[in-house]
């Protein structure tokens, strides 16, 4: 749908104008991501990071079609049908949420298309449900939680209180943390999805005798929890995955997040030329600091470009091999795919700091080195 292009920001339109003007695009990419409603911030970041890389490559043979899934699985499925049936794309990407990915990815890959995941990494797609055409460029869902567990060990925590929303990703998060954490649990709680008041949970934490807290509460839930936690007078150290401490929402949490340690495979101060250039150019292009999601979008596009340079997308085997090689300069430094096409990468512990008026993160150290995932062994590919 050419009309969708109007929806893009000016910069992205400029990037696309070049590709649209080309005689013929050789690779057609379908991006389904969340651009409206709650959670739109993540999708917008992935899109902007992705389009920035495409623009910087100067390539005219990659055409990107972008659609908004409104964070509704049925809309995402329908858009995927559209991408495959009507746009006849070669590669798909963009989905933010695990449940949407589970709805879209299996049927897309079954139809012979490539799918590059810039954010979601449900365990089902990493283990038994892995597919040769599915590449995850971000992380397997458990990774950051596992790193949080590993960090908790190294920080000497012996008794953690852990909590997450009562839905599959929440259960995966606690499982991931427990997989690496060697201490005891002071308590384990599942909260309501979308819950905004955590007074009851905080009271339980206070009474539990824990020496640390691990939580996975994405989006607004995490903001609410952190503000209320900071105000409660409970001063146990907090560990969590990067999602609640990312550039986009950190400003909304404010001082309540200062000093919190969180785990991430990327940060803006990772020291390599690609990353430095990415942070500068993203800021110049969009006027804001890049987020984790933007870096994932950027890396996804660069992976794609590296494969396009090496192989013709119509030769599926060659193209797959080129993707698998992952010979691109990642913002994360070293990046490789495991046998299940999920990343093998370092996961860092970072700390929330304040730079002038802006809250951001600083890397403390590596939490897990060259980390793969727990499901790779189940993948028969």
């Amino acid at each position: 749908m050419k009309t969708t292009l109007k929806a893009l920001s000016t910069a992205a339109v400029a990037a696309l104008a070049m590709t649209a003007g080309a005689a013929q695009a050789e690779v057609k990419v379908g991006m389904i991501t969340t651009l409206s409603g709650g959670g739109a911030g993540l999708g917008i970041d992935v899109r902007d990071g992705f389009m920035l890389a495409i623009k910087q490559s100067g390539r005219t043979d990659i055409e990107v079609v972008i659609e908004d899934d409104q964070r509704k699985p049925d809309v995402a499925v329908q858009l995927a049908d559209k991408m495959v049936q009507s746009e006849k794309v070669d590669v798909m990407t963009g989905i933010i949420w695990s449940n949407l990915a589970m709805a879209v990815v299996p049927s897309v890959t079954a139809q012979g298309k490539f799918y590059l995941s810039p954010n979601a990494g449900p365990s089902a797609l990493a283990g038994r449900g892995c597919h040769e055409n599915y590449f995850n460029v971000a992380w397997q869902n458990d990774n950051l939680h596992e790193a949080a567990g590993a960090y908790a060990n190294s920080a000497g925590y012996g008794k953690s209180f852990i909590l997450a929303p009562n839905y599959p990703a929440g259960k995966d998060a606690l499982t991931g943390y427990k997989r690496f954490f060697e201490g005891d649990l002071a308590g384990e709680l599942y909260t309501k999805l979308g819950q905004t008041d955590y007074a009851a949970e905080i009271a339980q934490i206070r009474a539990s005798g824990a020496d640390s807290v691990f939580f996975f509460l994405p989006g607004g839930m995490g903001i609410a929890f952190l503000k209320q936690y900071a105000d409660s007078g409970v001063d146990l150290p907090v560990v969590g995955p990067a999602f609640s401490f990312d550039q986009g929402i950190l400003q909304a949490v404010g001082g309540a997040a200062l000093g919190v340690v969180n785990t991430s495979q990327w940060n803006k101060d990772i020291d390599n030329a690609t990353n430095a250039a990415f942070v500068d150019s993203f800021q110049a292009e969009y006027g804001r600091l890049p987020s984790l999601y933007a870096s994932q979008g950027f890396d996804t596009a660069n992976l794609l470009i590296s494969a396009v340079e090496k192989a013709d997308v119509s030769d599926a085997d060659a193209f797959r091999a080129a993707l698998k090689a992952a010979e691109f300069d990642s913002t994360r430094g070293d990046f490789a795919f495991g046998d299940n096409h999920h990343p093998i990468q370092n996961i860092y512990a970072r700390e929330v700091i304040q730079e002038g008026d802006v809250f951001t993160n600083k890397i403390l150290g590596v939490a897990l080195e060259n980390h793969s995932d727990a499901y790779a062994g189940d993948c028969k590919m």
Binding site: A7, D74, K82, A103, K171, L193
Partner: protein
């Protein structure tokens, strides 16, 4: 003013012509979109029986839509993973057969509608709206935490379920199947509206006291309407799940209940083809406005507002005027 029957024939023609054109122009996605509209229309035809004939403003019809969806999801999931549903008291296997799935969806949603209806019909007016909404929320939260069937992630089915003699993976064949079911439901709906039951139900909506004094039970009439309505919406849910090859708790969400209601209102409450027109227009708007702007919900909102404020009787009401009497 257009004669309503002429308009209805025109709509049926459109339902056949658009996919036929899409088939020739090799635009399979248009067919998928049309299938979506047809399935939504079926769900709304269901609601229209409760809402249009029975005057029951149910903001919980997503319950039945979701139950239908999960009937498909659960049966197909077990068939796909070769695990039995239950081994006790007797062995029950999953299935990939659409007719069996549909029957399950209808039976399950009939049962749910019966229970919800009996409880909800103790109330009336706003309370009825809210108690149906509450039931919807119960199912929604239950589905989210029902980890055996995917919780919030939902269930994915890799291959669409089968129907004897058809290749349901071919968009136009699946569309045809859905269209036939929609037309059958519309036919049933038309007969129902004119039947003795429809006559009594119509009166129960307008003047329950009168219905009582002629010796009939308006609550029971409404309950039966609610159950029929739920069963049809449940069937639509199964078709919708198969269209997407996916079910998730969003099929239970109150926004979905609201959308089904919007289809009915846009098209015209109580009008036979109201839900069809409403669903077609909504899907078209979603498709066209969605391409125009990230903020397309604003335009959708304004459009809906204009329809409520100035368009009496929905689109069919605007085109055809008041409903003709069935004589």
């Amino acid at each position: 003013m257009i004669r309503e029957t002429h308009l209805n024939l025109g709509i049926i023609a459109l339902l056949i012509a658009i996919p036929a054109w899409a088939l020739m122009a090799d635009e399979p996605f248009i067919i998928t979109l049309m299938t979506r509209a047809v399935v939504f229309a079926l769900a709304a035809v269901g609601l229209n029986i409760a809402l249009g004939l029975g005057g029951l403003v149910s903001l919980g019809h997503a319950v039945f839509f979701g139950i239908g969806g999960y009937a498909m999801g659960i049966l197909a999931h077990h068939a796909q993973t070769y695990t039995p549903l239950t081994e006790w008291p007797f062995l029950l296997e999953g299935t990939k057969s659409m007719p069996v799935i549909w029957l399950t969806a209808i039976v399950a949603s009939t049962f749910a509608a019966l229970v919800i209806g009996i409880l909800s019909l103790r109330t009336a007016g706003v309370y009825f709206i809210m108690i149906t909404l509450a039931f919807g929320q119960m199912f929604f939260f239950f589905a989210i935490s029902w980890s055996a069937y995917g919780g919030e992630d939902g269930l994915s089915i890799y291959v669409r379920n089968g129907f004897p003699g058809l290749n349901t993976l071919v968009p136009v064949q699946y569309f045809g199947l859905c269209l036939v079911i929609l037309l059958a439901a519309l036919f049933l709906n038309a007969r129902l509206a004119k039947s003795p039951f429809g006559l009594a139900l119509n009166a129960a909506r307008q003047t329950p006291a009168r219905v009582e004094t002629v010796g009939l039970d308006p609550t029971r009439l409404k309950l039966v309407a609610f159950v029929i309505s739920g069963a049809i919406t449940g069937l639509a849910g199964a078709l919708f799940a198969d269209l997407n090859r996916f079910v998730s708790p969003t099929m239970f969400s109150w926004q979905l209940s609201g959308e089904i209601m919007i289809f009915v209102i846009i098209g015209g409450v109580g009008r036979l083809f109201g839900p069809v027109v409403g669903a077609l227009v909504f899907v078209a708007l979603e498709h066209l406005l969605g391409g125009l702007s990230e903020y397309w919900h604003i335009y959708l909102g304004i459009l809906l507002l204009l329809i409520v404020l100035f368009g009496r009787g929905g689109i069919i009401g605007m085109l055809c005027g008041r409903e003709r009497l069935h004589d």
